[in-house]
């Protein structure tokens, strides 16, 4: 949608999440999805009769289920309704939020429910991801979402000790946040004193990407209900408004391996951030936003991306982390929920960022609610091949 061409304003009126965990033997896929759907309907105080359209998002190859949107109707409530399935890799959750926003903003539907889910324990993620590599260039190259390139970049620029310590600092802050979120999958109870030990002992996955740096593989679902302004105000006491969103995909998969100092690649994070802020007249994003729910697949990436997302220079982003400014209570809290490193049911993951950002604005995040008022929140999504989605959420309809 062209910016500022919204036909209607759109608000989030309902949020539902399951507990995120490594296994859910007690439920099958539609049953797990239904837990989130039910919670979102209850949160909004409406029934499925009020929903005009369901946007279903998952990576269908990851569970080896074809046409999952049809298979899941028992749980999604989409029986007899318009239903659209969206698959865009790691960004799925963010893309379904954008799609739901666009559907409502256009006037096509009044109330749309976006459902992201993944039950990774049932499928074979690497089998799915491998399919996206060009067979001509040997598919084994792309054997999953693991890459050590960001660790390499950060260490080259800032030195091994500072880079590794900053990455672990970020990781432990995320764990401290996750310990406050009862829905988070991994919450270890890590302490800052363990940084040196973890650098030494955590098994290496690729290069300097260690097991402790990496996100989890989770089962879980998230549902978010979007409504047009009039209905949103009528139904919800505190609707959270979608101000704008942007999707950038401009790189080829293999660019991530082709980094060259002399020809730096402009990342999709920076392109997305620059364009989004420019068209919304936001000069100082670090001051404007009160909280950021970032899609952080590994602590190395998160560290590096902070610079791009907030348009920072030099080592400003490292200092944000080193000074613990990104902690709950800090200058720019990142992922009070614990982020992707704590919970990663892939196609729900980016929708959880939107949901958690909205909960922060509502003040309903519970133990991981940041103490200062939240008026402006940012949520990001990231996925293959190097896509970035950024969404701005607002407490007031006043921009």
């Amino acid at each position: 949608m062209a910016h500022r061409k919204k036909n209607k304003n759109v608000g989030i009126i309902g949020i539902g999440q399951t507990k995120y965990s490594s296994h859910r033997e007690d439920v099958n896929q539609p049953e797990m999805i239904h837990e989130a759907v039910k919670a979102a309907l209850e949160d909004a105080g409406i029934t499925m009769n009020d929903i005009d359209c369901v946007v279903h998002g998952n990576m269908e190859l990851f569970e080896m289920v074809h046409q999952p949107d049809l298979w899941h109707v028992i749980g999604t409530g989409a029986y007899g309704k318009n239903c659209i399935r969206i698959t865009t890799g790691g960004t799925v959750g963010a893309t379904i939020a954008c799609a739901a926003d666009n559907f409502v903003a256009s006037g096509m539907y009044d109330i749309v429910m976006a459902i992201g889910f993944q039950k990774l324990q049932e499928g074979h993620t690497t089998g799915g991801i491998t399919n996206m590599a060009d067979p001509l260039w040997f598919r084994n190259l792309q054997t999953g979402a693991l890459t050590g390139s960001k660790a390499y970049d950060v260490i080259r620029e800032f030195g091994e000790e500072r880079g590794k310590r900053a990455s672990l600092m970020y990781r432990i802050i995320m764990d401290k946040h996750a310990c406050l979120n009862s829905l988070a999958h991994r919450a270890f109870g890590l302490e800052f004193e363990q940084i040196d030990e973890l650098i030494r002992t955590s098994p290496k996955l690729v290069g300097d990407l260690k097991l402790i740096d990496m996100c989890s593989q989770s089962d879980g679902a998230c549902a978010v209900i979007f409504a047009e302004e009039k209905k949103a105000k009528k139904i919800s006491k505190k609707p959270v408004w979608i101000r704008d969103h942007i999707t950038i995909h401009r790189e080829e998969t293999f660019n991530i391996f082709g980094y060259d100092e002399k020809f730096p690649v402009q990342t999709t994070m920076r392109v997305a951030a620059e364009n989004l802020y420019k068209r919304n007249g936001i000069g100082k994003p670090l001051e404007y936003f009160d909280v950021f729910e970032m899609y952080d697949p590994a602590s190395w990436w998160a560290l590096d991306w902070l610079r791009d997302f907030f348009l920072l220079k030099g080592d400003e982003h490292l200092r944000l982390v080193e000074n613990k400014d990104i902690m709950i209570g800090g200058k720019m809290p990142i992922n009070p929920s614990g982020g992707v490193i704590a919970s990663n049911p892939i196609s729900a993951t980016a929708l959880i960022r939107v949901a958690e950002a909205a909960l922060q604005i509502r003040g309903d995040a519970g133990k991981h609610q940041i103490p200062s008022p939240v008026r402006h929140a940012l949520a990001s999504g990231f996925g293959g091949t190097m896509w970035t989605v950024l969404m701005m959420l607002e407490k007031e309809l006043n921009w």
Binding site: R24, E25, D26, V27, N28, Q29, P30, E31, H34, V37, K38, T47, M48, E63, M64, V73, I74, G75, G77, Y79, G80, K119, Q121, E122, G123, H124, G127, T130, N131, P135, L136, R139
Partner: protein, 473 residues
């Protein structure tokens, strides 16, 4: 036709993907499989809101979004083929050697069919509608193949669609001539049988709170009607939520509650049950409960809900009563000692009955009920009433009921020309002055007044039995 393009130097990569996966059946799916495996029982789950019984079971009704995970229903092993295909080629992944039949089977009591192998007959012998029975596997595989296959059913059961012509029925069911019977009937022509139709399938508590749902409510309401002068009650059992049910246990419980509260009363049960019920569901409950009397519907017709002021249709429903059903239901009732109350919605329905009765299975006297005002049937007109009255066989009885505003004019007419009267909340929720009826019993009180005005007396249940040819208690 060969494609004409240049293939020279076109490089092709051949690969193979391994696709490992696990499937988590969940608790509900797991119980379904383990119950088949360990107990050789097939279980479904039922949605209390829409009354559907799902198999394979699921945690949520996808239409009502009700949590139904604990609403288990045992379904038995017998079902009906609703569709099939014949697999005619062999392949490694197939569970049988070709040719074999893959059928969609709807178990008795279930509302959804599922696919399984049908064995024990040749592909050319399979028919839609045939009864089949589950054969369990000797060795478990922890899959749906713990039901090894389905085979044509050998179990004897009420089978509406496959009944052999009943040779003995007419003779057996016929009432032996009794000395002086006609005289006694004549003497009783002053008596009028008042029936109270307590609930029907569609009248809900939000329309009139006196509509009974629970067995207890039915019993209380029936008792009040009996006290007011009714000899018979007509019953469609309901779920607690108000939905009409074909569930044997619930219907029996409702029947037993009424009989417990007022043993003398005649209980006449519906074989229509409610919208969307199958023939099997409609008749098997009658055979299960064996009431003294049951309704028998005579024609396939529209049976709709609409706004009578604007003519706007809310629910467009076709009430199916084929000749086969009329015949099979009638025979099943007569064979089980259940006296049919023949429901006539127009002259065509009466004529249908007159054709079928040539087979001779209806016992005498026949009892008709003229139904007026159904959206899909005829509205009440006195001259049409007389036409129907004059068309029924000599010696037959008739009563009448009318929907809404047709109720009291129609029963008045019936009483006037020697027939009987049916009132009740199934047909109308008000009394003649337009006020909400306090219950079916208040309409019975009005019917008693109508009879008194014409010098007739309400029949006691035993007198009604005598008139309608029911067995003595």
């Amino acid at each position: 036709m060969s494609l004409d393009y240049d293939r020279k130097d076109c490089f092709v990569v051949n690969g193979k993907l391994a696709l490992p996966y696990s499937y988590f059946a969940g608790r509900v799916g797991s119980k379904f499989i383990t119950t088949i495996r360990d107990q050789k029982k097939i279980m479904g789950v039922k949605c209390d809101k829409c009354n559907k019984v799902f198999i394979p079971p699921r945690q949520t009704c996808e239409r009502c979004l009700e949590d139904i995970r604990n609403n288990w229903v045992e379904l038995g092993n017998i079902g009906e083929v609703v569709n099939f295909t014949v697999v005619r080629y062999n392949d490694g992944h197939l569970p049988r050697k070709a040719p074999y039949i893959l059928a969609l089977i709807k178990l008795d009591g279930a509302d959804t069919p599922f696919a399984h192998i049908l064995d024990g007959l040749k592909p050319e012998q399979v028919e839609i509608g045939m009864k089949v029975e589950a054969v369990f596997a000797d060795e478990t595989t922890n899959t749906i193949l713990d039901i090894d296959h389905f085979a044509p059913s050998k179990t004897k059961k009420v089978q509406v669609s496959e009944r052999a012509p009943a040779e003995k029925a007419p003779a057996a069911a016929k009432i032996e001539p009794q000395p002086g019977l006609d005289e006694r009937r004549k003497a009783m022509s002053r008596k009028v049988i008042i029936t109270a139709a307590l609930a029907g399938a569609a009248t809900m508590k939000n329309q009139n709170p006196a509509v009974p749902y629970s067995p207890q409510e039915f019993a209380e309401e029936a008792y009040k009607c009996y006290k007011a002068g009714a000899a018979m009650v007509h019953v469609h059992a309901r779920e607690d939520g108000g939905m009409a049910t074909h569930d044997h246990a619930r219907i029996k419980a409702t029947y037993d509650a009424i009989r417990g509260k007022c043993p003398e009363l005649i209980v006449n049960m519906s074989s229509a049950v409610g919208m969307g019920k199958t023939a099997e569901q409609r008749i098997s409950q009658i055979i299960h409960v064996k009431p003294e009397m049951a309704s028998l519907n005579t024609n396939t017709m529209n049976f709709s809900l609409l706004d009578r002021k604007t003519g706007k249709i809310f629910i467009d429903f076709v009430f199916e009563n084929t000749f086969t059903m009329l015949q099979n239901f009638g025979k099943a009732m007569e064979e089980n000692g259940v006296k049919p109350e023949i429901e006539v919605y127009d002259m065509g329905g009466l004529d249908n009955t007159m054709l079928i009765m040539k087979q001779g299975f209806f016992s005498e006297p026949m009892n008709f009920n003229f139904v007026w005002g159904v959206a899909g049937g005829q509205a009440f007109r006195p001259d049409a009433f007389l036409c129907l009255k004059n068309a029924i066989p000599a010696g037959a009885n008739f009563t009448t009921c009318g929907v809404g505003n047709d109720q009291f004019p129609a029963v008045t007419m019936s009483c006037l020309v020697g027939g009987h009267m049916r009132v009740g909340l199934e047909d109308n929720i008000r009394i003649p002055n337009g006020e909400m009826a306090k219950g079916s019993y208040e309409q019975v009180e009005w019917a008693v007044r109508i009879a008194e005005c014409q010098g007739r007396e309400p029949a006691t249940p035993d007198e009604a039995r005598e008139i309608m040819g029911l067995k003595k208690r």
